[in-house]
Structures are given as C-alpha cells and as structure tokens.
Amino acid sequence: MSPPKLSKDQVQKLAFSTIGFVFLLYVYFTFFLGPLNRSRAAMLVTIQDRQSKLDESKDKMKKAVSLEQQAKSATSRFATLRALNPEGAPIAWFPPRIKAFFANQQIDKAVARLDNSTAFKEAELSGWTKYTWLIDLPQADFASLGTAIAELENTEPLLSITKLHIQTLPNQPQSQHVEIAAASTIEKR
C-alpha cells in the first residue's frame, strides 16, 4: 500500500505541526519541567544538608553533655587556679602579698620588684602571662628562709623559683642576704 499523496497545502500544515510540536517540547522542558526539577533537586540537597546537620547536632549535644561530666574536675581545678590570683594589675598586688607573706614567716623588709613579663609559647596558655619577680630579703636566717620557701612553694602553686642567691652578711654570720627570682603564672584579665 503506497502512502497517500499529500498536497502542497497538507505538507505545509504537516511542517507547521512538526515545528509546533518541537516548540511545545522546548517550552515545556525549558520553562516548566526544567525549573521544577532544578528546584526539587536543590530542595533535596538542602534537606540532605540540614538532615546531616541535625544528625551532627545530636552528636554534638551528646558530646557536650558527656564532656561536661568529664570536665567537672578540670573546671573546678581551673576555677581554683584562677582564684589564686586576684583581679587587677599584678604589680599592684603581688609585691604587697610577698611582703606580707615573708613578714608572717619572721622575715622582714622583703621587697619584690617586677623584672619582666612574657607571654607563653604554648597555645593553651595564651590567656596567661609569666611574670618574673625579683624578691630581695636583706636579712634572713637560713632556717626561717627554708621554712618560708617551703611554705611559699606549697601555697603558691603557680609560682616557681628560678634563681636563688644566699650570701652571708659580713658582720652578722647568723643572717643572710637572699635574692630570689621567681616566675609566677597569672591570668590576663
């Protein structure tokens, strides 16, 4: 069976129909289905992202709770260490405190001077500063000095004696002139 012969007019109409069909497909995919699919895909990505964040957040909350339990001793120890030093500039309170401390140990005329202050190299101690003090005790006897140093080392855990110079006094062999260099770790406030 041979295909029906189409007239010129019919061929024209067929061509127009084909063009219309292609145009319809183009409009449909470009302006209707395409944006819809894109928006759906974007929403799916956002949902996945949010969902993973929600899952992570549950883990984070659990971690925070367990860390809070674990860090109880560390936080109380940290609070204790912070409380060792009062607020304010160290130069204002450290020398009087040292003077009073040695006076309580029967060593009078103690003088503390600030030698220098340096930042710690360790990142975890970035909030703390190391102050080096020169403590001068013009007249002390060895036994009292030993007791005082023991007491100082026990009551001031953040203080570390780095240098010690003891010299007998020429006219008073029972007394010594003492110079102490001590480094104290103080929080920046």
Partner: protein, 217 residues
C-alpha cells in the same frame, strides 16, 4: 448489474479530505501529547510540593535546634580549652623545682667545721637541670679534707633525691688565716663547689651505689 449512482460523491470526498486533514490530526496528536505532558508536570509539581513541605519541616526543626547546637559548640570549645589549660598548668606546677628540700639536704651536709658563705643556684632553661655554686670555708687539721668530705656528702645526699648529680671543686685553696675551733688552732681552706643535677629522681635500676668513703676529721 444494477447501476449505482453516487450523487454525493463530491460531498463525501470533501468530508474524507477534512477527516484526513494533517493539521487537524496534528492538532489532535499535539493536544493528546500536551495533555500527557501536563499530567506529568502535575505529577512532578506534586512531588516538588511534597519535598517542599519536608524541607520546611526540616528547616523548622533546624531553626528550633540551631541555638542549642551553637551554644553546645561554644561550650565544648570552652571546656576543651579549660581542660587543655588546666593540664598545661598542672604540668607547669608538677615540673617546678622545689627548693626547700634541696636547702634541707644542703644544710644536712655541712659539717660543724665548714661554713657556707654563699649559695648561688638557678634552674637551667627549659628545666634541663639545676646548677648550683656553693662557696665557703673549711677548718680542720686538714682543711682540704674537710672540704672534700663536704663534697662527698653532697654527692651522697643529693644522689638520693636527684639524678645525674655532679659535684666538682672549682676552687680549693689554703688560707693563711688560722681559726680556733674547740680551743685548737686550725688552718682554713676556701672552696668553691659547682653542683649540677637533674631534678628528676634517678631510675631505680640505674641507681649507682653511693660512693664508699670514710669521713676523715
């Protein structure tokens, strides 16, 4: 054979041509296809709306939980910082050198006929060790021997608590001065001792026996 006359031939031909009109057929096919596409679009739109409602539910949840998560994050960072700082501070505290026990050991080593006139001590950089310089005078029939006894005692006493103890004379010289000790005139010697040690106690397996010596007076 009967003669059949078709008087509506032209009319029927026109009707057949109208029915076979490609434009009309095309429009019908297009309309059908368009309807299918429209249905497919509606199906997709419905799915998209469903996903949109899921997204808004997730967003609501996230908005509700986000401040808590941010606070938890902040708290975790803060706690980790506290733990690290406390650990570093504890490390600093534990690695301090305690001078009082050292002074006590030194005071136990000094015999009655020796005197310390100066003590100069310092912690070496990065806690690598302790360096001490002791200066004094010793009196006795053999003052150098008294100073040597002091050196041996220091090695023995410091060796109990510290590692790598080294005690050496930097200076040991006789003095012209004569002193009276217990009613007896005795010559004197001036000494300067250099002491170096590690603040950490020696390992038990590596502990060396204390030097065997008899103290002379």
């Amino acid at each position: 054979m009967a003669l059949h006359l078709n008087l509506l031939h032209e009319e029927k031909l026109e009707q057949r041509q109208r029915q076979r009109d490609p434009l009309k057929i095309g429009i019908m096919v297009l309309s059908g296809f368009g309807a299918l596409l429209f249905l497919y679009y509606l199906f997709n739109a419905y799915r998209t709306l469903e996903i949109k409602s899921r997204l808004s539910a997730v967003e609501r949840n996230w908005t509700k939980i986000e401040p808590e998560v941010t606070a938890a994050d902040k708290r975790v960072a803060e706690l980790e910082g506290i733990i690290k700082t406390t650990s570093a501070l504890d490390n600093y505290i534990e690695n301090r050198f305690f001078w009082a026990p050292f002074l006590q050991k030194v005071s136990h080593c000094v015999p009655p006929n020796a005197q310390l006139t100066s003590l100069d001590a310092s912690v070496l950089d990065e806690n690598k060790g302790i360096s001490v310089s002791l200066e004094g005078v010793a009196a006795g029939r053999e003052p150098r021997s008294v100073a040597e006894d002091l050196r041996q005692m220091l090695i023995e006493q410091l060796g109990h608590g510290y590692g790598g103890v080294k005690v050496d004379f930097k200076t040991l010289e006789d003095l012209d001065t004569i002193v009276t000790v217990g009613g007896t005139n005795m010559p004197m010697a001036h000494y300067l001792l250099a002491i170096n040690f590690n603040p950490n106690p020696p390992a038990k397996s590596a502990a060396s026996p204390t030097p065997d010596h008899t103290r002379k007076r």
